[in-house]
Symmetry: C2
Subunit: 191 residues, 2 copies
């Protein structure tokens, strides 16, 4: 597989969120071993569909000026930046489904958060773009990133109950990761 | 109807989020007039089931020490506080479905956020409890508050497509309100 530019999984600094905090968050989104299994299955179902998924998500971002805004600097979006992020976004889909949610995973979720926040935005790709993705859209994206996946989960002839379980596991996993990604935006001691 | 203690809808201070920001957030969660209609229908479906819904949600909170923690002060939860919040939570279900998302609604979402945050926590009910509900659980709650509603939406003999539409509208609305509730936790200029 071609190396993904800026994909530093396994090399990120330690997350400020502990594994114990993560366990309590998993409990709060009702995340169980059954979800781990259904995310693995979702990974198999989605792995040859990621280009279509990203076409859909990028189409949505591209058709909304208030969203594509974050890929530019007041004028046209930076195509190179869009492409570089897309490759990592593709890998994120697979990692969300297949990787164990251990310290390494936790650390990389924090790294992704930093890259949305002014602390690290634009640095990975060395681009000239607006300095931060505003917090509100990270949480708002839970809906489109979740709702749009169902059609793709349904494309490999699984029964309705299995699709529903994969979808539910995906929803939990997306919610969990958005909590982790938003850590840099939260006032001290309030996370 | 009995007056709900601390339910100051229509009297809250102005939200720092503008109606224009709200419109862009609605666009981001794909919220349309069709969702408004299906939320109204959801409100009719749910209005005589709110006690059962709150029993379920309170049962979940009550069975998790890391959640019930926020209703006490290091020891047993404050029963009076739990009861007062429950009455407002009940009203929130109805308001989410039935109220127009206008300036008054926007202002009250901010008031709810302040009451989770140290700025106003415990003040409405004049109770002695921990000073803040940590941010992470507000976002994490998007999952249980959404997933558990589907069974209640399905109880009034609507067809599967209508139930799915009510559910989707509810998911969008919950995501939207959680974005608004978390404003007090976000660093300046990063919301």
């Amino acid at each position: 597989m071609e190396r993904i530019k800026g994909y530093t999984y396994g090399q990120a600094m330690s997350s400020p969120v502990s594994l114990n905090d993560l366990e309590l968050l998993k409990t709060t989104v009702l995340f169980t071993d059954d979800d781990v299994q259904h995310l693995k299955l979702a990974g198999e179902v989605l792995q040859d569909q990621t280009d279509e998924i990203l076409d859909l998500w990028y189409g949505f971002v591209g058709s909304n000026a208030h969203l594509v805004h974050y890929f530019g600097n007041g004028s046209a979006p930076n195509a190179e930046y869009l492409t570089a992020v897309r490759a990592r976004f593709n890998q994120w889909i697979l990692d969300l489904c297949k990787k164990p949610y251990d310290q390494t995973w936790l650390n990389y979720q924090h790294e992704i958060g930093l890259r949305h926040h002014s602390i690290k935005k634009n640095k990975t790709d060395n681009v000239d773009s607006v300095p931060i993705i505003h917090y509100r859209y990270l949480v708002a994206f839970i809906f489109p990133i979740t709702a749009t996946i169902k059609g793709f989960l349904a494309k490999k002839n699984h029964d309705a109950q299995t699709i529903e379980k994969m979808y539910s596991a995906w929803f939990k996993a997306v919610t969990l990761t958005v909590v982790l990604w938003t850590h840099p935006y939260i006032k001290e001691n309030e996370f």
